[in-house]
Symmetry: C2
Subunit: 413 residues, 2 copies
């Protein structure tokens, strides 16, 4: 099995200004290719530490992949250090220089002089195109050690990985035919330890598969991986285990692998030819944001009233002032009227409303922070569910949004 060592550079990754999402993305993709990530190092924009990490990576793995440090600023050192560690000269690439000039011309901006640095490359390196930003990547093949340098901005790095790096790795590392089979089962409702109890039998006898549970924003993802002598055998082993898990958890499964709860809802609505409108209070637009993260959601999503104030609940959703005065803005009755209102002001088939107390303020003994009402209306039907979540503002808002989507999923089914 081929191995990889990942290096993420940038002082900001040690100071805590930003997340290292890059090595995570690359780990996931490499695993699918059957390349094992044996180590991960995070270093600042510091020459000495970067050299150490480079040497360690080159000593221990077949391929070293770095992200970051390819930009035009003084802190961007990765290319220079790769040349130094590998003993390769740096040369100007005229074509890349022209592309850089074009990039800035298209945006009606002059190219800052410092950007010329981005057209310098290790001699004989293969240049990897950056279709989003200004910093190209590169691939350096020296003996049996391969080095790949990628830009730091996640969207640039991802596009480059998908378009350029993956085909290159398959070719250059002579990756054998795909051997590993993987499936992620996505569950919503029960917690991690409850899921572990449900599938304890399978986990105790996993048929040679690895089973990993991950709790994330109210969901639990069950990742099953089989690594046998060939893909067919891996797939067969995987299927047995996956089917066993599905049997035990089927009530809570919303999807598999790349599927997300919002993408699943959009697909379901599209299949049934139904449209949806929301009335969001405590989630403040988050449900709509999640739905419209899905390209093509416009075919099923009419729109939303983010009725954060009582005035907007009354003015736009026809919630009766008396209902709010009597029961409060966070109540079964208000949620009911909000959902009915969403249906009324729109021509959507389904109206969904949420109202709750996201905190940190606004809770009382009767209605504590975390109390949430979700209403779903269609035709003459309307149902309201009361839920209570524990956590901070962000967590309560996300759990509310996810629960609303899950309720919709169950109702559509």
């Amino acid at each position: 099995m081929k191995t990889a060592y990942l290096i993420s550079t940038g002082t900001e990754l040690l100071l805590g200004l930003t997340l290292d999402t890059n090595s995570i993305f690359i780990s996931e993709r490499l695993e699918k290719l059957g390349v094992k990530v044996i180590g991960k190092s995070i270093v600042g924009d510091n020459k000495e530490n970067l050299i150490k990490a480079f040497k360690l990576g080159l000593e221990s793995a077949d391929v070293v992949i770095t992200t970051g440090g390819l930009g035009p600023t003084k802190d961007d050192l990765t290319k220079e250090i790769a040349c130094e560690v590998l003993g390769i000269q740096s040369v100007l690439n005229k074509k890349v220089e022209d592309n850089l000039q074009n990039f800035f011309a298209k945006r009606n901006r002059d190219m800052p002089k410092s950007n010329i640095k981005q057209a310098m490359f290790p001699k004989d390196a293969i240049i990897l195109k950056n279709s989003i930003g200004t910093a190209p990547g590169m691939y350096i093949d020296k003996g049996n050690k391969k080095t790949i340098l990628l830009p730091g901005p996640p969207n640039e790095m991802r596009k480059m990985y998908e378009d350029e790096v993956e085909p290159l790795l398959i070719r250059e590392l002579n990756l054998e035919e795909k051997k590993i089979a993987t499936k992620v089962i996505k569950v919503i409702g029960p917690g991690e330890s409850q899921i572990e109890e449900m599938i304890a039998e399978v986990m105790n006898n996993p048929n040679g598969c690895s089973i990993v549970l991950l709790a994330h924003e109210g969901e639990v993802h069950i990742r099953v991986t089989a690594d046998r002598k060939d893909f067919k055998e891996s797939q067969e082993n995987l299927d047995i285990v996956v089917n066993n898990i599905i049997e035990k958890t089927s009530n809570y499964i919303y999807g598999y692998d790349e599927e997300t709860l919002p993408s699943n809802i959009v697909k379901l609505l599209d299949k049934k030819g139904k449209t949806i409108a929301f009335a969001e209070s405590c989630t403040g637009g988050l449900i709509s944001k999640l739905i419209t993260d899905v390209p093509g959601s416009s075919s099923v999503f009419w729109g939303t009233i983010v009725s954060y104030s009582n005035k907007s609940k009354i003015g736009l959703l026809d919630v009766k002032e008396n209902t709010i005065n009597k029961n409060g803005a966070v109540s079964e009755e208000t949620a009911y009227e909000m959902a009915k209102g969403a249906l009324k002001v729109s021509d959507a088939d389904i109206g969904v409303a949420v109202t709750g107390i996201a905190g940190p303020d606004g809770g009382t003994e009767q209605k504590p922070v975390g109390e949430v009402y979700i209403a779903i209306a269609f035709n003459n039907y309307c149902t309201v569910k009361k839920l209570r979540f524990v956590g901070d503002r962000d967590a309560i808002r996300m759990l509310t949004a996810k629960s609303a989507l899950d309720l919709i999923r169950k109702k559509i089914k």
Copy 2:
């Protein structure tokens, strides 16, 4: 200067299922305390690798802080391994066991048997309260080596860090009086290399301060740090450099340190006693979500119409059908009428509308993906700005939202 070594555990961190936000948060907080993070290791739920990381950490730093692996499942190994490496016995804590029983009782759930593991602790460890989840943390003091074990879920870890760990570190590490002074200047508009050119003079002569630029979702954060013989001298050095940078970039600065663009807008509106309503098309609720991330935003935020479909633009915002037919839903004219509509249907003082093409589909040669219109209306005034962004769907939506907020900021000022 005291040093720390961070270990993040969890196979999911190597497989790419989740982000290691924990070590980032801790790095940032430690830096503020004047504790230097000298290394970071990410390991799977693998006994052997975890032991190696532990030993390395204990050898090289004054304090080792781990996150994750304190839960009830079989994969949760951190506590057991800490006992093994440090040569300490594990004992049952009755009080923690009772707390666990209460946690589940409050949620009307039986405690899974496996959770009892969470009440076992290294002998003489100080237990750190988890006010959100079930896994307490702990502090182990052995000779001159300190070990702190924290739970993996970020919201639990953060609360525990703030409430328990920080005071403990200050006390137990005998941290000298604060020496380091730091300021983050937050800028929106120009790119990283443009900012570097603007402040090139300061960067070439930084008065002994360190200056780090970070580009993040359309913003650039300029972090300046001074580390001199005492806090007063650090602060004096910092002030000179910060003032120089402010002078060069003042047109683009929206805030400092913990301030975010949305929190700044909420504060500005509150100060002026103005309320705001949005009409969002391509951003699909994202602007509202960002505004309502800010606790207390209800005092200035009337609500939003997420008018994702033409029907909702016409039906709720009174955009003329003819305007859309003639100019398209993504046009100056439609944005104008949406903002006017937001003002009309609400009783807010300011109406803001965005419409654009977020992609990946829907672009044409005349109106490519990334073309966006932002309109701001108040009283009888309405202005529309046309922008063009490059990037994927997520990036275009976020840049649009940020630009809208920045325009609002400029108008309010």
